[in-house]
């Protein structure tokens, strides 16, 4: 008998059915994939030349990503990276960065 299964059952009983969608950390996890370049939580190393994303308005960030995807905004690499994420994922990422002080 695995007690963890009981724990899981408690969770299922206690939570709304959409367990995955309710994970409050999806945006955090996705945004962390950008942090290698843009800094932990979007706080780029000052003077490194990399753009900080922390605190960027959500709509503004989404527009930039859209422009990278479409090729309107010139890029060395962001046009290739932005194509790897779905619109929903980009939305979560933008919301996360907008909320960083």
């Amino acid at each position: 008998m695995k007690l963890s299964h009981i724990a899981a059952a408690f969770c299922l009983a206690g939570m709304a059915a959409s367990a995955a969608a309710a994970d409050p950390h999806l945006g955090r996890n996705l945004a962390a994939t950008c942090a290698n370049c843009h800094g932990t939580n979007g706080k780029a190393v000052p003077g490194s030349g990399m753009d900080a994303l922390a605190g960027m308005e959500k709509e503004k960030l989404l527009q930039k990503l859209k422009d990278f995807k479409s090729g309107v905004k010139p890029a060395t690499i962001m046009h290739q990276i932005s194509k790897g994420y779905t619109d929903e994922q980009m939305d979560l990422i933008a919301a996360y960065y907008a909320a960083q002080k």
């Binding site: 724990a7 367990a19 950390h25 999806l26 955090r28 996705l30 800094g39 990399m50 790897g84």
Partner: protein
């Protein structure tokens, strides 16, 4: 979830992990417990920091690292080429310790008792864990290069494929080499750590020769049938910049070395060099390869891509170069950092009694210098695919630089500064 068995559960009793397991489903309850991380490189330092940061200090983290400081392999080829120093790629663990509250132990992990959830240390100590993370990088398969089994031979014929004293020693060999000499680098069959790394090194050594020792040559002896990464961009750099310096020989697998004669022994011939740089075949670092974790091809650890947990040994997560990679996933520092974040998120879920995120994403970039200023990149994005139970490269995303350029030379240094800070600051 399946990993907390009854015995562990009872043993932990009112312990943090068990409590979290039961109450993790109610909102506001956090993960807690003790995570031991072995290896403070690209994967291990990242997971240690992110566990502390994301748990807001609730999860205790002990990092076991055999070296005093972190020394980066990325940018180490610039030390070998002469435009950077070892100090430029060396970073202390002080911030992990003091700013993030990671307990850093300078020791070597020598064994694991996965049943009792304990790690044995070389200096005699033992650490208990709720979850263990191994990010030991690679070790070399010296039995495939028999003459290099001895420590003495390894001091003469260098790999410099783990950054540190060997990086400096290889630079010294190049400085001491006479003009008109030959530097030969041997590349093992893929998979190996950092697919573009050997070609980058060849470029940077050639760049050094071009100005300092213009009659010298660089010979690339590649066991593979072709250039393994950014082929068009590297071959263009070789013909544009190093036409009479670099010679590339595919299908040239190293069988052994004549140490005294500084010769690479290939299947049908021997190739003499003045500086011979052997990158030996590799496998998961010893602590991951020899402790009963399921391996693929007897070399790389098999993991569950939702949690980075070993498919055979509950409670043990493995990151970085030690893994059997998902399709088209390279062994890179950037990717090891991403593994660290995936594992940190999953471990916090598991310690709180929740399922890990069912749709993780990983992305990779490798910048390579073709001279001291110009850089080329390769990038890819990998999304979890439930049907194949692995992460798959997203079609249409990623790619390589249009051409080598100086702008990306600056961005590559910015990448290094930011990823180092993301791991260690």
């Amino acid at each position: 979830m399946k990993n907390i068995n009854r015995r562990d559960f009872l043993k932990l009793g009112a312990g943090a992990a068990a409590m979290a397991g039961l109450y993790g489903c109610t909102s506001g309850t956090r993960a807690s417990g003790h995570v031991v991380v072995v290896g403070g490189g690209y994967g291990g330092a990242t997971v240690a920091k992110y566990l502390r940061m994301w748990s807001e200090g609730q999860v205790q983290v002990t990092l076991v690292e055999r070296n005093t400081d972190f020394v980066s392999c990325p940018i180490s080829n610039l030390v070998i080429g002469g435009s950077k120093t070892l100090a430029d790629i060396t970073i202390s663990y002080a911030n992990l310790q003091h700013k993030w509250g990671v307990r850093v132990i300078r020791d070597e992990a020598v064994g694991i008792d996965a049943g009792a959830r304990k790690v044995k240390l070389a200096q005699g100590g033992e650490l208990s864990y709720d979850r263990l993370v191994l990010s030991p990088g690679i070790d070399f398969m010296w039995d495939q290069v028999p003459a290099l089994k001895s420590a003495e031979a390894q001091q003469q014929i260098l790999h410099a494929w783990k950054a540190g004293p060997q990086t400096v020693a290889l630079r010294k060999q190049l400085e001491d080499m006479k003009d008109g000499g030959v530097y030969a680098i041997t590349i093992p069959k893929a998979p190996y750590r950092c697919p573009p790394g050997p070609y980058e090194r060849a470029c940077l050594v050639a760049n050094y020769f071009k100005t300092a020792k213009p009659r010298s040559k660089v010979l690339i002896l590649d066991a593979n049938e072709d250039v393994q990464s950014k082929k068009a961009l590297f071959t263009k750099a070789w013909s544009d910049l190093y036409k009479d310096i670099i010679e590339y020989r595919p299908n040239s697998e190293l069988k052994d070395v004549d140490v005294a004669g500084k010769a690479a022994v290939l299947e049908f011939d021997q190739v003499k060099a003045d500086v011979l740089n052997v990158i030996p075949p590799q496998r998961a670092g010893q602590i991951a390869a020899s402790t009963g974790l399921k391996l693929i091809n007897n070399r790389w650890v098999d993991v569950n891509w939702l949690s980075m947990e070993s498919t055979s040994t509950p409670g043990v997560h493995v990151l970085g170069d030690a893994l059997f990679p998902a399709p088209t996933m390279p062994k890179s520092g950037h990717m090891a950092n991403q593994h660290g974040k995936l594992a940190a998120a999953a471990i916090l879920n598991l310690l709180a009694g929740q399922e890990p995120n069912p749709a993780p994403v990983l992305m990779n970039t490798c910048y390579s210098f073709v001279d001291s200023k110009n850089v080329i990149h390769v990038a890819s994005v990998h999304q979890y695919d439930a049907a194949t139970k692995t992460v798959q490269p997203v079609k249409g995303a990623g790619g390589v630089s249009a051409a080598r350029n100086e702008l990306e030379g600056k961005i590559a240094m910015a990448w290094a500064q930011n990823i180092w800070a993301d791991m260690l600051t």
